[in-house]
Amino acid sequence: MERVGEVVEASTTDFVAQCYELYQSPPLGSLVKTGDSGGELYGVVYNAATTSLEPGRRPIARGKDEASEEEIYRSNPQLLKLLRSEFNALVVGHRQGDKLHHYLSPQPARIHGFVYLCSPEEVKEFSQSFDFLNILISSHLTVPVDEIVSACLRQMSQAHEDRRAFLVAAGKELAVLLSGDFNQFKAILGRIKQ
């Protein structure tokens, strides 16, 4: 199981994790999990950012005399320590014991909890039900919801042998959820069709 970071901020609806390596955040829309054997939280990555460690100090341009981007990092090895990559995940479900629930967990994630990228088997198990789509659609995020939903479905479809059947089934579920907003539905369909 691939460890991708550590929780640094958490609330009931989402959590922020910092990556161990710069720029190593999981892809947009991928399913991640955090927690211990007592209970696990599942989240969908909806945002990633790389910023300066200190909020007051913005990075400055350094590449004027360098031949390539890699050269900049080679000449300034401290940069890797002064910058950090973080990603945000929206909580879409949790596991208690053997049972998988597609709704919010009673407890938020714990700070310093390790965050793992889910294996294809886990993704497949989680996406047996499309109940989590409702959480994604009704969330108020800084990132457009259409993008998150379509990115998430594209990611999940890779875990299924029959990608098309999975996407058609998801599309049908979306048709019901978005029955009042055909334009948004059409936008998502356009992003998940192969």
Binding site: G171, A175, G180, K186, L189
Partner: protein
């Protein structure tokens, strides 16, 4: 086993229920007239698809249609944002408990609950409602898009007057032939067929094909062919059993009344006939024609010169009919009755005399006498507790000429249709213009079988008084031009569209012939 179509989403008892199609069911496979079952919580409903429509969840879809050239998008949209709906009229219901199962299907008095699943009716459902082919039930065709045999209870069918309607060329004659064979085999009734176009006796015509066998060829000993036109029958190589001749003395004033329009007689001329009959007795027709003018009229008869001329001109037309003779050598009525009493069906061919004057005159005259005999026998049977006469079905074509509002009260057929089975005589009316038939007669017709009709008035007239008329109307107007028919009324528990059974091939004749089941049993025994 059942093919699920969708779920009930709304409805009312009077208007029928709306069914939303599942995405797996294609709206193009749904055709009006198909038979469906709805599984309610406690009972099953049997109904018929009467309308098909398209729906969308969001009106934006219709304004900015998505790109359905992409199969993915088309597949996602089908059954979700865009869906098909069916309008189903339910007719029968059967409860889930043992008692209701024994009772069989009952007329519907409620509707299924929300989201009850809807299935295509299976063969078993059809059998449950219409019964299997047996002693009384006759296979008349197959329900739309199904292989199941649709059977009609002919014993029940002949208890009322019935009608076969449809535009010219839609298969009325073929259907009637099938019904006649059915009655011959499965009911105790005998038929008297006034065969205007020589279609039922020996051989019938078929559009673009060789002639088809008719009743006599298939059932030699159960059918007698009578003819008005011996020469024509001989030329067509039809072996006839009896040549009908009609004497002047057999024509009654009522017969002239019926022919008023076709003979172009005035009201006064018809009135005069009664006076003349009173004066001259049985030979009135000959005597009237012999008159040279009003001067020769007997005393007490007061007829105007022009009226007499009008009447004489009309009577001349009758006298010119070749089958009319001063004195008929044989009595056609007695002969017909003697055949009917032996359980032999009688087909009366008109040969070349297909004009409406001959048809009305002969059909009406013979039927009136036969009916009078039946009435007398029936009354005697009731009084003396002896066997009732064999039920008789009289088949007439071009019925609107006899049963139009003007004549329905005068012809014997109007009386038969109204008084119905009291005297064991019923009608089988074949017509292409049902709107021409008197409403009162139409309302007394028990079972109606109708092929395609496209005239609004004809459709209204056939469906008058039927519950769910507007729904059936859409079904009726969409029937195929051939072989398909809608049957509803007394003899069937619910309306059903069917494709009439094949008639005309050697194989089909074999199917009709009796004794086949026995042979089959023996085959089964040895195989």
């Amino acid at each position: 086993m059942n093919d699920r179509l969708g779920i009930v989403v709304s409805g009312s008892l009077t208007r029928g229920v709306e069914v939303r199609l599942d995405s797996s069911a294609s709206v193009e496979d749904m055709v009006v007239g198909r038979y469906v079952t709805i599984e309610g919580n406690r009972r099953r409903f049997f109904g018929m698809i009467t309308d098909v429509s398209l729906g969308v969840t969001d009106s934006n879809i219709t304004q900015t249609p998505p790109d359905v050239a992409d199969p993915f998008i088309a597949e996602v949209l089908a059954g979700t944002s865009t869906y098909g709906t069916l309008h189903v009229s339910s007719y029968l219901t059967i409860g889930g408990d043992v008692d209701s199962l024994l009772e069989g299907p009952q007329p519907v008095k409620t509707i299924p609950g929300h989201f009850s699943p809807v299935n295509l009716a299976s063969e078993r459902d059809i059998e449950l409602v219409f019964g299997k082919e047996d002693e009384e039930r006759f296979w008349i065709g197959n329900p739309l898009d199904m292989e199941t045999k649709l059977c009609l209870n002919l014993e029940e069918f002949v208890k009322r007057s019935n009608g076969v309607f449809g535009k010219s060329g839609t298969g009325k004659t073929f259907l009637t032939r099938i019904l006649l064979i059915g009655m011959l085999q499965k009911s105790k009734a005998v038929n008297l067929i006034f065969d205007m176009h020589n279609e039922y006796g020996w051989a019938g015509t078929s559009e673009g094909g060789p002639p088809v066998k008719a009743l006599k060829q298939l059932f030699q000993d159960r059918v007698a062919v009578f003819t008005l036109d011996e020469e024509n029958s001989r030329r067509r190589k039809v072996s006839t059993d009896f040549v009908v001749r009609i004497g002047y003395d057999e024509i009654e004033p009522e017969d002239i009344g019926l022919l008023r329009q076709t003979l172009n007689l005035t009201e006064l001329a018809v009135e005069a006939v009664y006076q003349l009959r009173r004066q001259f007795g049985k030979d009135w027709l000959q005597n009237t024609l012999d008159l040279k003018g009003v001067d020769e009229l007997p005393e007490g008869v007061n007829i105007h010169e022009s009226t007499l001329q009008n009447l004489q001109r009309g009577l001349m037309t009758i006298r010119r009919l070749p089958f009319i003779e001063p004195h008929a050598p044989t009595n056609a009525v007695d002969s017909i009755l003697s055949y009917l009493d032996r359980g032999i069906n009688v087909v009366l061919e008109f040969g070349r005399f297909r004009d409406i004057t001959s048809y009305i005159l002969v059909a009406n005259m013979l039927s009136r006498r036969i009916y009078a005999q039946y009435q007398a026998r029936m009354e005697r049977a009731m009084g003396e507790d002896i066997a009732k006469p064999t039920p008789l079905v009289i088949t007439i074509e071009e019925a609107h000429k006899f049963l139009n509002p003007e004549l329905a009260n005068q012809t014997i057929f109007g009386t038969i249709a109204r008084e119905m089975r009291k005297y064991n005589v019923t009608l089988l009316v074949i017509d292409q213009r049902p709107s021409g038939i008197d409403d009162e007669v139409m309302s007394q017709i028990g079972t109606k079988i109708t092929c395609l009709l496209d005239n609004e008035r004809d459709i209204d007239s056939v469906l008058a008084g039927v519950s769910g008329k507007s729904e059936l109307k859409s079904v009726l107007a969409k029937l195929a031009a051939k072989q398909q028919a809608l049957i509803f009324g007394h003899a069937v528990p619910m309306p059903v569209v069917f494709r009439s059974r094949e008639y005309g091939s050697a194989e089909s004749y074999k199917d009709f012939l009796p004794g086949k089941p026995a042979e089959k049993d023996i085959e089964d025994l040895w195989s």
